[in-house]
Assembly symmetry: C3
Homo-oligomer: 275 residues x 3
């Protein structure tokens, strides 16, 4: 199942419009290319509506946001909604500043997102719960463990119901859910958090997946999460004693590039969360 969703990315080669931060933008472009899709980055108000119109999907990431780009996010998002193109929201750092929290909430009010992906602190923040944010990382008290996964998946499902979005919470255990169904994913490596922007990259990859699988947003998001985590595992196996987080960054993207159906179907570790 998972591999069919990847195959659709490779066959359809969707064009993905990204309005994203300048820190990890290059990695986002390369991971989209690695998946078989094509990226275009554009953030000026005078072109975002036109750019989103020629694209298959949109990825909005609020890292290094500013007044100019916030306006462009709103305009691009509304246009994408109008044209029925899928959109991912990555609320980077929501909870770390009022500007980020309020921008994320404003985006949620004005735009319908197909997928919202963040760490648990960001998702709790935008859902209106108090959260323990540490900059752009989840706070320690927020980390998802096996013990609280049912409780958290319930929270995510209810947020999914409220927003009409697929909710993706990533961490040691990832949760992907819509209003009806929730999955957990146990792919990935803790070392991935030592590479800047693996979250941003996953959001970009998710945008590629849902752009090529518009009728299966939940499953496509699940596939993207499995693939990113599995790429982290494959890349980790490749590490030598001399390699660190910079080589790891390259190896993760390389592993996305070299992913095939067999590896993906065999390596994906997901299951439905049931009570």
């Amino acid at each position: 199942m998972i591999s069919t969703l990847l195959q659709n990315v490779r066959d359809n080669k969707p064009l993905v419009h990204n309005i994203t931060n300048y820190v990890t933008v290059n990695d986002c472009a390369n991971i989209i290319l690695a998946s078989g899709a094509s990226p275009i980055m554009a953030d000026d108000i005078d072109e975002v509506e036109e750019i989103v119109s020629i694209c298959d999907g949109l990825n909005i990431n609020i890292g290094t946001l500013n007044k100019r780009t916030i306006e462009s996010m709103i305009a691009a998002g509304k246009k994408a909604n109008e044209l029925n193109k899928p959109i991912v929201l990555d609320p980077v750092g929501a909870g770390a500043s009022k500007l980020r929290t309020e921008t994320a909430k404003k985006l949620l009010n004005e735009i319908h997102f197909s997928v919202i992906r963040g760490n648990i602190s960001e998702i709790k923040t935008i859902a209106g719960l108090s959260a323990d944010t540490k900059g752009v990382d989840a706070g320690i008290s927020d980390i998802v463990t096996a013990d609280d996964i049912i409780q958290l998946s319930d929270f995510c499902k209810s947020f999914a119901k409220k927003t009409g979005s697929v909710i993706v919470v990533t961490g040691a255990i990832d949760i992907i859910c819509d209003a009806e169904k929730a999955y957990e994913v146990r792919n990935g490596r803790p070392e991935m958090s030592s590479v800047t922007g693996t979250g941003c990259q996953l959001s970009a990859l998710t945008a590629a997946f849902i752009s090529a699988n518009t009728d299966k947003v939940t499953e496509a998001s699940l596939a993207a999460v499995c693939m990113m985590g599995l790429a982290g595992e494959i890349a980790y196996e490749r590490m030598t004693d001399l390699d660190g987080n910079s080589s790891y960054r390259n190896y993760i993207i390389d592993a996305i590039y070299n992913m095939n159906s067999e590896k993906l179907d065999t390596g994906s570790k997901y299951k439905e969360i049931k009570k």
Copy 2:
């Protein structure tokens, strides 16, 4: 011949001013350094004229443009013209939005460029022909093949005559021409398009070459195109089964860094296009 032009880059170490997009800017800086030149990036209207004055050449790339940086591009370009410093234009995504198409045309109206480098869809767009653009990539119906190379080189020559610029169209086969002479280059690998910004990097490299070879703009552009393609070939040979587009990006820049006269003269695959 080609290697002498590279040697001039290494001997003169030109300082190249770049006003470029935030997606591929780091790779542009590193490829300029790899060639033996030095980069400086500056895009504020209050400094671009001064920065271009201390530089040997200018590279204007319209990816992720905005109103603020467009104004700076115009100012920097005019100053470079006034001081007789060579300028490269990379009209990234011309055809994908009115803002990009009109900005590229405005730049062409107000500034004389030594070199204009783009894919065929971008070049057709700015020449006023209809083009089949796909985001920042050339559309399929625009791809240059052996069959239409004479026709295309005629079009490029006439655009070169009209603009007074060397025209560089890159793709599976590259065309480099001025009003009188056209060359084709058959270096490169199709996998280069899976690395974001290889086009931007070539424009930056071309700026380094023409800044060090101001009296041989056509030949210097030809040399840059050969060197970039050859670097793509050398880098490709180095790829293992685990390497993907991210490692390939590093290997291409590494190959520019390690290029020498012998490799470049032996490996360059160019010839004049004659009817």
Copy 3:
């Protein structure tokens, strides 16, 4: 001694706010992560004060500055001063344009910096001396040699006294000093200058070090300089004939990631400068 300062970074995991250029920002984020600290990048006036409040330190780098970000630098810097959080200034390209020189001076007037790190041309420029700047690199006549190190350390000490900052001048020989004491460091490799942003990376790393060692700013800066240079040496040993500046970039960050106490204490080459 040096390794204890690194251990504090790894134990305290300080959160470092960066207002920095879009050229080398990704490498700055990854080197901060490699050191054991966490980066957050934010440059909008509406959030910088809040972001700096949740962080342990601030890194201000004036590369690719613009009117919007200059205002944010001032606001963030003042807030950090108010909250007694350490700040690094990297005056990239001071001397290359009036905007950069005046911005650096304005920052120095309005904000107290714990550390100012630049090449000798930049430091001379902001100290009000005439300097031989070449873009973002030091001019040849400014390069620090063994012969003039005492004279230069005297100049740096007096600038340290005037500003109340630790002054870090990097080049073939690095100088680190406060008003009382000066050190020289002889770690590093000349090839590091062929990687864009190794200076920016060092400033980011220094911000991580002083954020975790607020009571030992001089020693923490010295440790960061030794560690960066040593990482350059370790990374260089790893280079193959095919590797160039792009792989070198990765290997340097990898070497920071893999640095341990033994390597750092054994490999650091510093001594106090005495007359």
